[in-house]
């Protein structure tokens, strides 16, 4: 793979957005102004092109490889999955300790190096490709905003950091990108920093992520202490034994200490993943993060950054798959979060809040995927989710743009007359999210549900229930906002930034009756069309013949994780139904043919079942939110206890406020008082004593007698002489 020119020039992929960000950041305020999006468009666009070329080249490379095998129909496990990867070292970033003890924890080295394999390439295409579409949209959405250049500079920086995150060859690079995207997220959530709610949301996101990152940081340190390296596969790439994942892949060669560390490591890493990907105890920041501009919600808080946790677990799968407890925790937390967030989304009235909880829920699905030994399904859902959730967020951005900042679905209805194109785009996104055949979400969600069922029927049932809720809340939103009688809010929202309005809508009353003013400028609709195409076809294209699975199966991470999982769990399997499914890792399926066929059949049953469930959810939403809306209100009134619990998000925020934030604030106040009165008091005392002494001396000795001064001077000299010479 390293012979590809895109790999040799891979430094361009992160560098170009960074250069764009620097240009927009340094020259945007004075010179570029309204044209600040150009450096970002060019930089991210070039990166997107490079990523896609890299993807095509990698696919072509794998195509050649498959003909080289002697018996392509039934090759042995290892040979069937020749991993394709390339390490690219730019320079040594950090080196500390004794170089003669390389490979032990006496010598720390972190290279600024990239590691290319199918997983990286897939993630790069998502980050740069979808990132580019969102950047294009953002230029239309943010037009005329104050600080336009600042917005695009942050976007470029974000893409750079995200590229570092997915391309890095070691945990330190991952951590760099991880913190970098966290910073950009903070800056962009707080983009409207004049609004106190935006400032608070930004701080909350940053602080909650800190909790997770603490675990992640400790995990990295522990990994280095035990294994003497932080690189996934060592500087020489996959194949040796000097990488972290390679060491973990051979548990029989490890010392007792290393085995202990290996047991704890996944829990620490998953803490970071739960923070960044907004999973159960740490999910509270994501709904608040919707304070940021809508393109930010789409790019950072739906499509890319929040999936970093899933990427991390998929990448470090080898550390997880040997550990039953860790896998179970990931799957449990994922399913619990999925259900919890989906239930909260049932009764949110803000479009973006619904999608925020939906994102948390879908991320839960991905975690279930990686937790039940099916990282391929998790990454598959990551890709399709990136398309349709970006589409949904940006569509709601169009709605917000047209409705002068209003996002409350109680105040709008029947918008299909006002926003005909957006309506279709939103419908496609909703169908994909609800999991209707043949839209993208269906295939990936189905794969996760099937894998979850394979692992534990209870888990599968929870996932199916969540799918039902998902279909319901998605179409509740759609039917409320786009169907039914036309209701349009006619006064701008108090938070609305007046500049959203285009110059040509000079009437001001442009909403609703806009005959001349377009609510759907091409610059905002075109990127959505591409995302919609992706939301329609990405699922079936990638699912067909396990295309994505076999592609990802050539990633060393998936190969080592799959082999380790097989070696760990197959000897313990009660019967052949409990064998690890190699397809979950994109590996060649070596299990008995009849078992495979039976599984295939049950998979089809699942597809049917989840279609029925999705349609049922849509039907309920249709009844309650289109045909008979008063009935929905009556129902809510009858179940007012539950409705109130859900509307208040189960009081989780309040619980955190009371149990964590308030005690910490009290502690902080106590420390402040300690500092103010005890420490500062001592310092003040140290200054006061000489002052007091001086005052007393002034009163007693400074009395204006010249002779007295002279005498005391003489006595002083005498004392000094006495001391010096005796």
């Amino acid at each position: 793979m390293s012979e590809l020119w895109t790999v040799q020039h891979s430094y361009l992929i992160p560098l170009l957005p960074l250069i764009g960000a620097a240009i927009a950041g340094f020259f945007g305020a004075r010179w570029l102004r309204g044209g600040s999006h150009w450096p970002i468009w060019l930089g991210v666009g070039a990166s997107a092109v490079l990523s896609i070329v890299l993807l095509l080249q990698t696919v072509a490379l794998l195509g050649q490889g498959s003909h080289a095998g002697t018996d392509p129909a039934h090759p042995p496990l290892g040979a069937a999955n020749p991993s394709v990867s390339a390490p690219v070292k730019l320079f040594t970033w950090i080196a500390a300790g004794d170089p003669s003890k390389a490979g032990t924890n006496q010598y720390f080295v972190a290279d600024a190096a990239f590691f290319f394999d199918p997983l990286t390439v897939t993630m790069l295409c998502v980050v740069c490709g979808i990132g580019f579409l969102i950047c294009v949209f953002a230029a239309g959405y943010m037009r005329g905003e104050e600080g336009y250049w600042r917005f695009f500079a942050y976007l470029g920086l974000f893409i750079f950091m995200m590229c570092c995150l997915v391309m890095g060859d070691n945990l330190i690079m991952l951590y760099l990108g991880w913190e970098g995207v966290g910073l950009c997220s903070y800056l962009l959530i707080g983009y409207y920093y004049q609004k106190p709610s935006a400032r608070d949301a930004a701080k909350k996101a940053f602080l909650v992520n800190r909790i997770g990152d603490f675990g992640f940081g400790v995990g990295i340190m522990l990994a280095f202490a035990a294994f003497g390296t932080v690189s996934y596969f060592g500087a020489d790439g996959y194949g040796g034994t000097n990488g972290l994942l390679e060491a973990a892949a051979h548990p029989e060669t490890l010392s007792e200490f290393q085995r202990q560390v290996l047991w704890w490591l996944p829990f620490l890493l998953m803490l970071g993943a739960f923070g960044k990907s907004a999973q159960f105890p740490l999910y509270v920041w994501l709904p608040d993060a919707m304070e940021g501009p809508t393109p930010v919600s789409a790019l950072i808080h739906a499509a890319t950054m929040v999936t970093a946790g899933v990427y991390m677990i998929a990448r470090c799968g080898t550390l997880f798959v040997g550990n039953d407890a860790a896998l179970m925790t990931v799957a449990f937390i994922g399913s619990f979060t999925a259900l919890l967030a989906a239930s909260i989304a049932l009764r949110q009235f803000d479009l973006k809040k619904v999608f925020a909880y939906s994102t948390i829920s879908q991320l839960g699905f991905m975690f279930v995927g990686v937790g039940v030994l099916a990282p391929v399904a998790g990454v598959f859902h990551l890709v399709t989710h990136a398309f349709f959730k970006a589409l949904l967020f940006l569509s709601s951005g169009v709605v917000m743009h047209a409705m002068l900042g209003h996002l409350d679905m109680r105040q709008m209805s029947g918008l299909k007359a006002v926003l005909p194109k957006t309506r279709w785009l939103m419908l496609i996104g909703c169908l994909a999210l609800a999991g209707v055949v043949p839209f993208a979400g269906f295939w990936s969600k189905d794969e996760i549900v099937a894998a979850a069922w394979h692992a534990s029927p209870l888990l599968g049932a929870v996932m199916l229930l969540t799918a039902l809720l998902t279909a319901y809340y998605t179409f509740r939103l759609y039917f409320r906002v786009f169907e039914g009688p036309r209701v349009v809010p006619d006064t701008p929202h108090p938070d609305h930034h007046g500049s959203h309005e285009h110059g040509d809508s000079s009437g001001g009353a442009g909403s609703g009756h806009g005959g001349h003013h377009s609510h759907e400028p091409a610059i905002m609709i075109l990127p959505l069309v591409f995302l919609a195409i992706g939301s329609v076809i990405a699922g079936v294209v990638l699912w067909q013949g396990h295309r994505l699975g076999h592609f990802l199966g050539h990633s060393p991470s998936f190969v080592t994780a799959g082999e380790l999982a097989t070696a760990t769990f197959n000897p313990k399997a009660a019967d052949e139904h409990h064998l690890v499914n190699p397809l979950g890792f994109g590996l060649h399926d070596t299990r008995p043919a009849e078992l495979q066929q039976a599984e295939q059949r049950s998979h089809y049953v699942f597809m049917l079942l989840s279609t029925v469930i999705a349609l049922a959810g849509i039907a309920v939403a249709y009844t309650l939110h289109l045909r008979d809306r008063p009935k929905a209100d009556r129902l809510a009134l009858r179940l007012s206890g539950i409705a109130r619990a859900i509307e208040n998000k189960y009081w989780v925020d309040e619980l955190y406020q009371a149990s964590i934030v308030e005690p910490l604030r009290r502690l902080g106040q106590a420390f402040y008082a300690m500092d103010r009165f005890v420490v500062d008091g001592l310092v003040w005392l140290a200054g006061f004593i000489p002052q007091l002494g001086g005052f007393i001396l002034k009163l007693t000795t400074q009395r204006g007698y010249l002779q007295g001064y002279a005498l005391s001077m003489v006595l002083g000299v005498a004392v000094i002489l006495f001391v010096v010479f005796l």
Binding site: R703, G704, V714
Partner: protein
């Protein structure tokens, strides 16, 4: 033959210097007349200068002699300033008593 002057050694010069310095010091502390106090400081100056000259002459270290010239010139400058100041002070209070300026508490 040895003259009386030949028997005068370094100690004698130093003793004269020390006596002059001591007289000046005691005078400065005990008198309150500004002019007298000023003269006493001059006396202390000359006591020190005698020390310098004596060491310069006996040790053969001529920097002491050169330094003496400086001090004498400086003392002259100081004298002109100090007498001017004393005249000013006298014009204010019509007395030369240093205690008259006690409220300055300098």
């Amino acid at each position: 033959m040895t003259s009386t002057l030949d028997q005068v050694g370094l100690q004698h010069y130093l003793a004269v210097g020390a006596i002059m310095f001591a007289i000046g010091l005691i005078g400065f502390i005990s008198r309150r007349n500004l002019i007298l106090m000023f003269l006493c400081t001059e006396l202390m100056f000359q006591g020190v200068v005698i020390n310098l000259v004596a060491f310069g002459g006996f040790v053969g270290f001529f920097a002491g002699l050169a330094f003496t010239i400086f001090v004498v010139v400086l003392a002259g400058a100081v004298a002109s300033l100090a007498v001017g100041l004393i005249v000013l002070l006298f014009r204010h209070k019509a007395t030369l008593d240093a205690d008259a300026w006690r409220e300055l508490r300098g």
